[in-house]
C-alpha cells in the first residue's frame, strides 16, 4: 500500500460528479486535495465503472446512454488533475466540532488511519428510498439501482421474466436500458398516483427549461410502453417465495393479480445519504417535498460547521448535472476560504442559468414522482420495516401508540435500526410511521441519532492506528491511554 500523508488542505469524501468536479477545480489551483472513495474506481454510482465500460465493454456505452457516457470526460479530467485519489477507503468518522483538530477516520485494506485536512467537502451522494412491502427481504427482490449497478460494473442483466415496480425517473431509465440490452421486462408495476392538471402544467415549465432531458424522458416512456406491459395505479405489492422469490402479487384498480418471477426490482426515488453528515454533527432538516432529511446548506455548500461543505445529491436530490456544476462552485468557495479562513462569506449566491434551468426540471420531477404512500406507511402491520432486526410496521405503530417519543427511544423498545445497516434502510420509514401514529410532523418526530463509526471497524484496527505524537496535550493523553489499553502490533508480536 502507498504511504499517504496524514495531512492535506482539502479532503473530499465521494468520487461521484460533485466530488470529482470539486477535486478538478481545487487541483487545478494547486491545492493539495485528497479524494476518498469507497469504490475501486472513480465515477460514483451515476458514472460507475465508466472507464471500464468504455474500454472493455464499449457496446454497453450505447445501452447505458448519454447520461452515463458524459461521465467519461469528467473522470478523465480528474485522473489528469493531480488530485490524490484513494479508492477502496471506508470513512467511518469525522471528528466532532469539540475536538481540537478537524480529522477524518478512514480504513483502507483493514488499516485504520486519521487524516487531518483543513477543509472537508462531503459528496456522499444519494441512496434509494426504502420500499418496505410484504416479502421485500426475499432473495430476488432488489432495488432498481442495485440492478443498474450490476449492469454498469459487471455487464449483468436479469432475464425477461424480471418485474419492475415502484416509480421515479431511475426506474424508467433502467427499463429503457434493459430494452436496449435486449431484455424486455415482463411488467412494470407503476405505483405513481394520478397527478393533478397543475403538475402536468409544470411539465411545460420543465420542457422550456430543459428540453433535452424532458424529450429524452418522454422517448423512454414511449419506447417502454410500446414493448412492455406498464400497469398503472398499483396500490398493493407483495412478494412470495420460500427461499427465494417465486411470484409477485399486486393490486391495481381493485383487482389482484399474480406474476411468476425470480427477480423483482423496486424503486421509489432517491434520498440524500446523510450518515456521514449527521454523524459529524451538522444541522439537518426535513424537506417536506422530497420527503427526506437534508443538511442545512447556506450559500454555496456551506453547513453549520465552517470547515465542512456539502455538495451534490447529499445536499438535496438534484441530479448529476447539478452535482457537477455545484461541485465546481463549491470548490471555488472553498478556495476563497483557504485564502482567508475568517468568517465564511457568501461569495456568489446567485446561481448560473444552467443551474436554475435544472432546478426547474427538478421542481417538476419532485411533484410528478412523489414518494409512494404504501411504501412510506406500509398498510400491512406484518411488513418488515427494519430488515436487520426484523421489526415490523405493526411493532413501530404499537410503541408509538404507547407513547414512544421518537426513533431513538424506539430503538430501546424494539431494536429497530440497531442492526448492521445502522438504520440506513429503515430510518425514513420509522420516522414516517411514528409521525403518523402520533399525529406530528416528521420534522418534530426526528431522525435516528447517527454516531460514528458509521462503517464497521474492529477494535484491533482502532488500536493499531498511528498516533500523532507532535500534537497537543489532549492527543498525548489519548495516546497514552491507547498504549496502556490496547498495545499495537509492535508490542504484541
Amino acid at each position: 500500500m502507498i504511504e499517504h500523508s496524514a495531512d492535506c488542505q482539502v479532503a473530499i469524501v465521494g468520487a461521484g460528479p460533485a466530488g470529482l468536479a470539486a477535486a478538478c477545480v481545487l487541483a487545478d489551483k494547486g491545492v493539495d486535495v485528497v479524494v476518498l472513495d469507497e469504490q475501486a474506481i472513480p465515477g460514483g454510482q451515476v458514472f460507475r465503472a465508466v472507464e471500464k465500460v468504455s474500454t472493455a465493454r464499449s457496446e454497453d456505452m450505447g445501452i447505458l446512454g448519454t447520461g452515463f457516457s458524459a461521465g467519461l470526460q469528467l473522470v478523465e479530467r480528474f485522473r489528469a488533475s493531480g488530485a490524490v485519489y484513494r479508492p477502496g477507503v471506508a470513512v467511518w468518522e469525522i471528528t466532532s466540532a469539540h475536538e481540537p483538530e478537524l480529522s477524518i477516520g478512514l480504513a483502507e485494506k483493514g488499516v485504520a488511519q486519521m487524516l487531518y485536512p483543513r477543509h472537508i467537502i462531503l459528496a456522499t451522494g444519494a441512496m434509494e428510498r426504502p420500499t418496505p412491502f410484504p416479502g421485500w427481504t426475499l432473495p430476488g427482490v432488489m432495488t432498481v439501482g442495485a440492478a443498474q449497478t450490476l449492469l454498469k460494473s459487471s455487464g449483468l442483466v436479469p432475464d425477461s421474466s424480471v418485474v419492475l415496480a415502484g416509480t421515479g425517473p431511475l426506474l424508467y431509465l433502467y427499463a429503457s436500458q434493459l430494452l436496449r440490452a435486449g431484455v424486455t421486462p415482463q411488467a412494470i408495476l407503476d405505483t405513481r398516483p394520478p397527478v393533478s392538471w397543475h403538475t402536468h402544467a409544470l411539465a411545460l415549465g420543465a420542457l422550456t427549461a430543459c428540453p433535452g432531458a424532458m424529450i429524452q424522458g418522454l422517448r423512454w416512456m414511449h419506447e417502454i410502453k410500446k414493448h412492455t406491459a406498464v400497469i398503472a395505479n398499483i396500490t398493493s405489492l407483495k412478494a412470495y417465495g420460500k427461499d427465494q422469490l417465486r411470484s409477485v402479487s399486486y393490486q391495481a384498480t381493485g383487482q389482484v393479480c399474480d406474476l411468476t418471477a425470480e427477480v423483482l426490482l423496486v424503486h421509489d426515488g432517491v434520498i440524500p445519504n446523510t450518515w456521514l453528515s449527521m454523524s459529524a454533527g451538522i444541522e439537518h432538516h426535513f424537506d417536506p417535498v422530497q420527503q427526506c432529511w437534508v443538511p442545512d446548506v447556506r450559500g454555496v455548500g456551506m453547513t453549520s460547521r465552517d470547515s465542512i461543505s456539502i455538495v451534490g445529491d447529499t445536499a438535496g436530490i438534484a441530479g448529476a448535472e447539478v452535482a457537477l456544476l455545484q461541485g465546481e462552485r463549491v470548490a471555488r468557495e472553498v478556495l476563497g476560504q483557504l485564502d482567508s479562513p475568517q468568517p465564511a462569506k457568501l461569495l456568489s449566491t446567485k446561481e448560473p442559468l444552467a443551474l436554475r434551468r435544472r432546478r426547474r426540471l427538478r421542481y417538476f420531477l419532485d411533484r410528478y414522482f412523489p414518494p409512494t404512500t404504501q411504501f412510506q406507511l406500509p398498510p400491512d402491520d406484518n411488513t418488515i420495516v427494519c430488515r436487520c432486526e426484523e421489526v415490523t410496521a405493526g411493532e413501530i405503530r404499537q410503541v408509538a401508540a404507547r407513547g414512544c417519543m421518537g426513533p431513538n427511544q424506539g430503538k430501546a423498545f424494539t431494536r429497530c435500526g440497531m442492526g448492521p445497516c445502522m438504520g440506513r434502510k429503515c430510518a425514513a420509514t420509522v420516522s414516517q410511521l411514528m409521525a403518523e401514529v402520533r399525529g406530528m410532523p416528521v420534522a418534530e418526530i426526528g431522525h435516528y441519532r447517527i454516531r460514528p463509526p458509521i462503517r464497521p471497524i474492529t477494535v484491533g484496527q482502532l488500536a493499531d492506528m498511528p498516533i500523532r505524537r507532535e500534537s497537543n496535550d489532549l492527543a498525548e493523553a489519548g495516546a497514552s491511554i491507547y498504549d496502556t489499553l490496547a498495545p499495537g502490533k509492535n508490542s504484541t508480536s
Binding site: E38, Q39, A40, I41, Q45, A49, K52, A56, R57, D60, G88, A90, G110, M127, E128, T137, L138, P139, G140, V141, M142, T143, G145, A146, A147, T149, L150, S153, S154, G155, L156, V157, P158, D159, A181, D243, Q244, E262, V263, N273, R387, C388, E389, E390, G419, P420, C421, R424, K425, P456, T458, V459, G460, Q461
Partner: protein, 112 residues
C-alpha cells in the same frame, strides 16, 4: 445451510459478455470465476448464488439488495474477517470467501 453455487440455469442475472480477464476465488468449497473488477457480490450472483446468508434473527434467507454498501444484506466472511460487505470488495485471485454464520445461537468471536 448455504445454497451452493449452482449452474447458470437458475441464475437471477446473466453476463452480457464472456469473461475476458478471469479471476478465480473460493466460495466455501466452490471455485468461482469472476471477471477482473467484479465485486464478490456481483461474481456470486453471476455464478448463480441466490442465497448469501440467513438473518441472525429469524434465519430467513438473504441476498444482496442495494449493491452500493447501504443494506448490509450481502455480508460474507472474507479471508477470515467476518461480516464484510461483498458488494464493496473486488474479487482477487485465490480469495477465500465463506458464509457468515452469525446467528444469535451460534455467535462466535471474531478475532482479528
Amino acid at each position: 445451510m448455504p445454497t451452493s453455487v449452482s449452474d447458470r440455469n437458475g441464475s437471477m442475472f446473466q453476463r452480457r459478455h464472456s469473461i475476458n480477464q478471469p479471476v478465480c476465488f473460493w466460495f466455501e468449497d466452490h471455485e468461482v470465476v469472476a471477471n477482473q473488477g467484479d465485486s464478490i457480490a456481483a461474481a456470486l450472483l453471476a455464478a448463480g448464488l441466490t442465497q448469501f446468508r440467513r438473518s441472525p434473527v429469524s434465519g430467513s434467507p438473504r441476498a444482496p439488495y442495494c449493491m452500493i454498501g447501504n443494506c448490509y444484506e450481502c455480508l460474507v466472511e472474507i479471508e477470515g474477517q467476518g461480516s464484510v460487505q461483498a458488494c464493496l470488495v473486488e474479487a482477487v485471485e485465490g480469495m477465500r470467501v465463506r458464509v457468515v454464520s452469525g446467528s444469535k445461537s451460534e455467535a462466535r468471536s471474531t478475532d482479528n
